[in-house]
C-alpha cells in the first residue's frame, strides 16, 4: 500500500508539474532559510560549549559611571587576579587572561626572518589557563609549559605560520623575539580550539607575578580579563561581596597614600561564561558578541518564511481538491478508508518536502557564498553538525505535517457520490471567507511588513550617509599617522614637512593634520567654566579633538562667533561647539568668546564657537566639544582631492610616493571618508541586507503561491470565462475579473500589515537620535508595490485565460 501510495504520488506530482515545481521551489527556499539560520544559531550557541567547568565559570567585569551612564567594562585591574586568589573564598580557580599589545614579533625559522607588526591574539596568563581551557597538547604539556618564566605556548596554526614545515615536537626550544629584545622559548604546541570561543589566543605567554603599585588597583584595562571558577555550591553573590570589599579597601588605601581630588565608584559583576558571548552590553575590543534578540529575530524570520512556503503548499493543494474529487470519490467507493487517503496525500507532501530539502542543500551552499558578509564564516562548519541535522529533521517533519494536514483533512471530507457524479463545486474566487483566503492574507501581511521594513531601513541608511553632517566630507582621503611616531626620535615634526610636500602635489587641494570630525572613539575630559567671580563653577565632560589651524576651513565648518585658530599660535586657545556653550549656560556664542575654561590647573581661552556638527553616528546626540590646536598621536592626515575623481588614482599614487620618503610604506593605509562613515553603520547595513533578503524571499514565495492560485482559478473558471466572452466581455474585463479577488485580499493584507510595520519600525528608529520621519507615503508606496507585484503575477495567467477562444473552452465542458 505504501509503495503504491508513493508511486501514485510521484505520477500525480509529475502530471501537475507546474504546481509541483511551485511548491518545491517555495519549500526549498523556506528550508534553505531555516538551514542557514539554524547553522548560525547552532554556531552562536556553541560558544564555550567544550569548557569543562562552563557552568561554574564566570567572567569578572567592572562597572563604572561614564558620561552619567552605568557602563560595564570587560576588564579588571591587573592586580585583581592575585587579590582574588589570596583573599576571596569559595573560589576554585582564578584565571587571568591578559591581552598583550605587542608592536612587533621576530621569528628566525632557519629559512627566513619573519617579522610581524602588531600581531593579534597574544595573551599572558599562568598555568591555571590550561586547566580552564581544554587544549589538546601536540608537544609539551600543561604542567611543564610555564616552568620557565620566559616561555611561550603556540597554537598549531600560529606555529605553522612562524615555522612552516616543522612538526610540533621540533618546535620545542625554538625562540621568538617580542618587542625587539624579549626572547621567549617555545615550551608547548596546542591544537587550535575546535569550538567557537572567546579564547582566541594564538600565543600564550607566561604572566609573571609582580608586586603591583597601589595605583594599578584603580586602573581598568579592558583587555585584562579575569575568569573565576566558583566552587560547586558557591553562589556568585557571596564571591562578589568579597571582591567588592577588596576593591573598596584598596581604594581607601590609595586615598590615604595619594589623597586624590576625585571620587571613585566601581562595582563588579560575574557573568556566566555561557552568557558572555551574548553580553553585548559589555564594552571590550575585538571580542565577537552576538545579541540574543538578533538571534531570536533570525529564528522568527526563518519560521515565518518556511511557514509562507507551507501556506503555498496548503493553498495550492486545497485549491486542487475540486479537480481531484473524482479520484477521491472512486477511492472511497472502492473501500478506501481515511487512513489510506491520508497516506496518499502525505506521500505527496513527503515527496515534495524531501525534494525541496535536497534542492535547499544546493541553495544553502550558495547562500553561504553570497551572504558571506552577513554570516559568521565559522557557521558553515555547523551546517552538518549533528544537532543542526536533528533539528532540521524535526523541521522537515513539522513542515510535512503542517503542509499536509489541512489538505488531507479536506480530502477526507469529500463526498464520493457528489464527486463522482458531478465533480466538486468550485468555490473559487467567490466571496465566502475560507481558510485559504485567511492564509493568503497572512502570507501577504508578512511580505508587506517586510516591504515596509526594507523601505524604511533603506531610507534611514541613505539618510545617515547623505544627511548634512555639518562638515564637507566629499573627496576627503584619510591616512593615519603612524602610531606613536609623533614623539618618536627621528620622526618629531616630520608630519609637518610631509604636509608641505603633499601640498605641492597636483590633485591635492587642501590638507589638515587633525582628528577627523566624525569617528568612533574619542577622548573626553571634564572642563570647568566659572560664569563670574563668586558663582558656582560648572563642570562639563567635553569631547576633545586635536586639530590644526586649517581644520575649520578644510571641512568648511562655519564659525558662529569668534575667530579661527592661527597657524603657529601656541597660546592656549580653544574653540567650542554650540552645544558646549549651551551646556555651560552661556547665553550666546558671542558671549562665550574670550571666556576661559579650566582643566586641572590649565586655563584655556575660548577663541571661537563652531556650528554643531556630528562627531558620532546617528545613534548618539551631538555632545559638547572642544577643539584644541596641537600635535597628538590620534591625529591623521586629512587630504582633500580635486573634484575630478578620474584623477584620484594618480593622485593617491603620488601621495604614496611622497609618503614613502618619510615613513615606511607599510604604514600607508588610506581610506575615503565616505567609506568610513558607511562603516559606522555596518550593523545597520547588515540588518538592511537581511531585511532585503527576507523581503525578496517572502515576496517571491508569495508570488509563487499567487501564480499557482491564479492558474487554478483561471482553469476552474474556464467555462465562465468562455460564456462571458461569448456574451461580449473584453480581454481586459476578464483580466480584471480574475485579478480583482486577489488584489482585494492583498489590500486587506496591506491594511493589517501597515500598523504592525509602523509600530516595529518606530521601535527600531527610536534607537537613532537623528532619523527619517515615517510618513504615510512610505506605506502608500509599499502598498502600491505589493498591489503591482500581485497584479502582474495574476495577469500572466489571467491574460492567458482571457485570450482563449471561447469555442474551445465551452466545448471542453
Amino acid at each position: 500500500m505504501i509503495k503504491l501510495s508513493f508511486k501514485t504520488a510521484f505520477r500525480y506530482l509529475w502530471k501537475h508539474k507546474l504546481f509541483t515545481a511551485l511548491n518545491i521551489a517555495g519549500l526549498a527556499i523556506g528550508i534553505c532559510t531555516c538551514w542557514v539560520i539554524l547553522s548560525i544559531v547552532r554556531y552562536e550557541f556553541n560558544f564555550e560549549s567544550a569548557i569543562p567547568e562552563r557552568e561554574n565559570t564566570y567572567r569578572l567585569v567592572t562597572g563604572k559611571m561614564f558620561d552619567n551612564k552605568e557602563t560595564i567594562y570587560g576588564g579588571v585591574s591587573a592586580p585583581f587576579y592575585q587579590g582574588v586568589r589570596e583573599n576571596v573564598t569559595g573560589v576554585k580557580a582564578v584565571v587571568p587572561v591578559y591581552g598583550q599589545w605587542i608592536s612587533s614579533v621576530k621569528v628566525d625559522n632557519g629559512k627566513e626572518l619573519i617579522e610581524v607588526e602588531e600581531p593579534e591574539d597574544i595573551i599572558a596568563t599562568d598555568s591555571s589557563y590550561f586547566e580552564m581551557v581544554p587544549y589538546k597538547w601536540l608537544a609539551g604539556n600543561a604542567r611543564t609549559a610555564f616552568q620557565q618564566p620566559e616561555s611561550v605556548v603556540l597554537t598549531q596554526s600560529r606555529a605553522n605560520s612562524y615555522f612552516p614545515g616543522l612538526t610540533p615536537g621540533q618546535l620545542i626550544g625554538k625562540t621568538i623575539t617580542y618587542e625587539e629584545d624579549a626572547i621567549k622559548t617555545i615550551s608547548g604546541i596546542v591544537e587550535d580550539l575546535h569550538f567557537p570561543s572567546e579564547f582566541t589566543a594564538q600565543e600564550i605567554l607566561y604572566l609573571q607575578p609582580i608586586a603591583y603599585p597601589l595605583v594599578e588597583w584603580t586602573n581598568t584595562n579592558s583587555s585584562d580579563r579575569l575568569y573565576i571558577i566558583a566552587e560547586n555550591d558557591k553562589n556568585p553573590a557571596t564571591i562578589l561581596k568579597q571582591i567588592q570589599q577588596l576593591s573598596d579597601q584598596k581604594w581607601q588605601d590609595f586615598k590615604q597614600e595619594r589623597n586624590p581630588t576625585y571620587e571613585f565608584v566601581r562595582w563588579f559583576s560575574m557573568i556566566p561564561l555561557s552568557e558572555m558571548h551574548f553580553a553585548t552590553y559589555v564594552n571590550e575590543w575585538q571580542v565577537k558578541k552576538t545579541s540574543k534578540t538578533v538571534l531570536f529575530g533570525l529564528i522568527g524570520t526563518a519560521i515565518f518564511i518556511l511557514f509562507l512556503a507551507c501556506i503555498n503548499y496548503i493553498n495550492l493543494s486545497t485549491a486542487q481538491i475540486p479537480q481531484r474529487g473524482k479520484e477521491i470519490g472512486i477511492r472511497k467507493t472502492l473501500g478506501s478508508n481515511n487512513k489510506s487517503l491520508l497516506m496518499q496525500i502525505f506521500s505527496e507532501t513527503i515527496i515534495v518536502v524531501l525534494i525541496g530539502a535536497l534542492l535547499s542543500f544546493v541553495l544553502v551552499h550558495f547562500s553561504f557564498l553570497l551572504l558571506s558578509d552577513m554570516i559568521p564564516q565559522d557557521a558553515v562548519n555547523f551546517q552538518f553538525h549533528t544537532n543542526t541535522l536533528l533539528i532540521l529533521g524535526g523541521i522537515l517533519i513539522a513542515t510535512i505535517v503542517s503542509s499536509g494536514a489541512y489538505p488531507a483533512i479536506q480530502m477526507t471530507r469529500v463526498n464520493p457520490i457528489q464527486s463522482i457524479k458531478n465533480g466538486l463545486s468550485q468555490k473559487s474566487g467567490k466571496s465566502r471567507f475560507n481558510v485559504r483566503k485567511g492564509l493568503f492574507i497572512f502570507q501577504y501581511t508578512i511580505a508587506q511588513c517586510f516591504i515596509i521594513g526594507a523601505i524604511i531601513v533603506g531610507q534611514q541608511l541613505k539618510y545617515t550617509i547623505k544627511k548634512d553632517l555639518g562638515f564637507n566630507k566629499d573627496a576627503v582621503l584619510l591616512v593615519d599617522h603612524p602610531f606613536n611616531m609623533t614623539s618618536k626620535a627621528g620622526f618629531v615634526g616630520k608630519q609637518k614637512v610631509l604636509l608641505e610636500e603633499l601640498q605641492k602635489l597636483p590633485g591635492v587641494t587642501n590638507l589638515s593634520f587633525s582628528e577627523s570630525p566624525l569617528r568612533m572613539g574619542y577622548s573626553s575630559s571634564p572642563y570647568i567654566y566659572t560664569p563670574a567671580e563668586g558663582t558656582d563653577p560648572v563642570s562639563r565632560q567635553l569631547q576633545i579633538k586635536m586639530v590644526d589651524h586649517n581644520y575649520l576651513s578644510f571641512y568648511q565648518m562655519p564659525l558662529v562667533a569668534g575667530k579661527d585658530f592661527v597657524a603657529g599660535d601656541s597660546s592656549k586657545k580653544v574653540i567650542l561647539n554650540e552645544t558646549a556653550v549651551k551646556e555651560y549656560g552661556i547665553s550666546s556664542p558671542e558671549e562665550a568668546v574670550g571666556k576661559t575654561i579650566k582643566r586641572s590647573d590649565e586655563l584655556y581661552s575660548i577663541a571661537g564657537v563652531v556650528k554643531d556638527f556630528h562627531q558620532e553616528n546617528f545613534y548618539k546626540e551631538i555632545k559638547p566639544l572642544v577643539l584644541m590646536q596641537g600635535d597628538q598621536p590620534r591625529q591623521m592626515f586629512n587630504i582633500k582631492l580635486s573634484s575630478n575623481s578620474e584623477q584620484w588614482p594618480q593622485t593617491i599614487e603620488a601621495i604614496k610616493a611622497t609618503w614613502t620618503k618619510f615613513y615606511s610604506e607599510k604604514y600607508f593605509e588610506y581610506r575615503f571618508y565616505d567609506e568610513t562613515i558607511e562603516a559606522l553603520y555596518k550593523e545597520d547595513q547588515r540588518l538592511s541586507t537581511l531585511i532585503n533578503v527576507a523581503t525578496f524571499i517572502s515576496i517571491f514565495i508569495g508570488c509563487l503561491g499567487l501564480f499557482g492560485l491564479a492558474t487554478l482559478t483561471a482553469f476552474q473558471r474556464t467555462k465562465e470565462i468562455g460564456v462571458r466572452k461569448v456574451l461580449g466581455a473584453s480581454v481586459s474585463s476578464i483580466v480584471g475579473l480574475l485579478s480583482k479577488d486577489f488584489v482585494k485580499l492583498v489590500i486587506i493584507a496591506i491594511v493589517i500589515a501597515s500598523p504592525i510595520a509602523w509600530w516595529a519600525m518606530n521601535k527600531w528608529l527610536e534607537e537613532f537620535i537623528y532619523k527619517v520621519p515615517v510618513t504615510i507615503w512610505t506605506f502608500l508606496m509599499a502598498g502600491g508595490l505589493a498591489i503591482i507585484i500581485a497584479f502582474v503575477t495574476v495577469s500572466v495567467q489571467a491574460v492567458k485565460a482571457a485570450i482563449v477562444n471561447p469555442v474551445n473552452s465551452l466545448r471542453d465542458e
Binding site: L4, E327, I330, T333, L334, I417
Partner: protein, 225 residues
C-alpha cells in the same frame, strides 16, 4: 439478498426539499440480474447509491443479506461495501495516475489481500476481461471499451456478491457496449447478483427483471423470461 421496504430519500437545500425516493419497496434475490430504468431525475441513481452503501436513506429499511444496514455508520458501510459490492460506472472512473494493473489491484489492497494473492487474482481477472496485454498502460491510453473492461475487472476482482452498474454502456459504441453487457451476463451466470441502471431497452433485456421508475416511485416490475 436485498430487501427494501418503504425506502425514502430527501434532498434538502436551503430553500426546498425534494423527495427523491418515495416509499420504495422491492427485493433482489441472490443470482438475479435486475435492470432499473426510468427518465433522468426519477431517482434511479440515488437508489443505486443507497444499495451500494454510498448514501444513507431518510426513511424505511434496507436489508442486505438479512441485516438491516439502513442505520449503519460510514465505517461499517465501508467495511461491508468493500467486501461485498463492486461498482461499474458510466464514465468508467478509473484513476488516471494508476496503470490498468494498479487500478484493478486497488480494491484488493483496501481489503488487505496479501501481495502474492493479489497478483494472482488481478492477472486472472485481466485474462478473463482480455485486457492482460494492456496491464501496464494508463487509462488515457485505452479506448472507451477497454477502459470499461478494466472498470468491470476492478469491480469483480474482489469477487463481490453484488455488482452495481450505473449506465455501464452509456459512453460506449454499440459493439463495445454489447461486449460489456456480455461480460456482466457471464458474471451473473457465474453467480454474481447484478443491479444495473440503464436508459437502454436493449441493455435492459440482458436482465431477468426490469424495474421502471418515475418521480421517485416504482411504476412497474417486469419479469423477463
Amino acid at each position: 439478498m436485498i430487501k427494501i421496504q418503504q425506502l425514502e430519500k430527501l434532498y434538502r437545500t436551503e430553500e426546498i426539499e425534494t423527495l427523491v425516493l418515495n416509499k420504495i419497496s422491492f427485493e433482489v434475490k441472490e443470482g438475479e440480474f435486475v435492470a432499473v430504468m426510468g427518465p433522468s431525475g426519477c431517482g434511479k441513481s440515488t437508489l443505486l447509491n443507497i444499495i451500494g452503501l454510498l448514501d444513507d436513506c431518510d426513511g424505511g429499511s434496507f436489508f442486505f443479506n438479512n441485516i438491516d444496514v439502513s442505520k449503519y455508520n460510514e465505517r461499517k458501510r465501508s467495511a461491508l461495501r468493500k467486501k461485498n459490492i463492486g461498482f461499474v460506472f458510466q464514465s468508467f472512473n478509473l484513476i488516471d495516475e494508476l496503470t490498468v494493473y494498479e487500478n484493478v489491484e486497488l480494491p484488493l489492497i483496501y481489503t488487505k489481500v496479501k501481495a502474492s494473492e493479489r497478483k494472482e487474482r488481478v492477472e486472472e481477472v485481466l485474462q478473463q476481461m482480455q485486457i492482460m496485454h494492456r496491464r501496464n498502460h494508463f487509462p488515457q491510453q485505452l479506448s472507451g471499451g477497454q477502459q470499461q473492461r478494466v472498470a468491470v475487472a476492478r469491480a469483480v476482482v474482489n469477487k463481490p456478491k453484488l455488482i452495481l452498474a450505473d449506465e455501464p454502456t452509456g459512453n460506449l459504441d454499440s459493439n463495445n457496449g454489447n461486449e460489456v453487457m456480455q461480460l456482466l451476463t457471464e458474471l451473473n451466470q457465474a453467480g454474481t447478483t447484478v443491479i444495473m441502471v440503464t436508459h437502454s431497452e436493449h441493455d435492459a433485456h440482458f436482465s431477468h427483471k426490469i424495474i421502471r421508475m418515475l418521480d421517485g416511485q416504482i411504476v412497474t416490475e417486469n419479469i423477463l423470461l
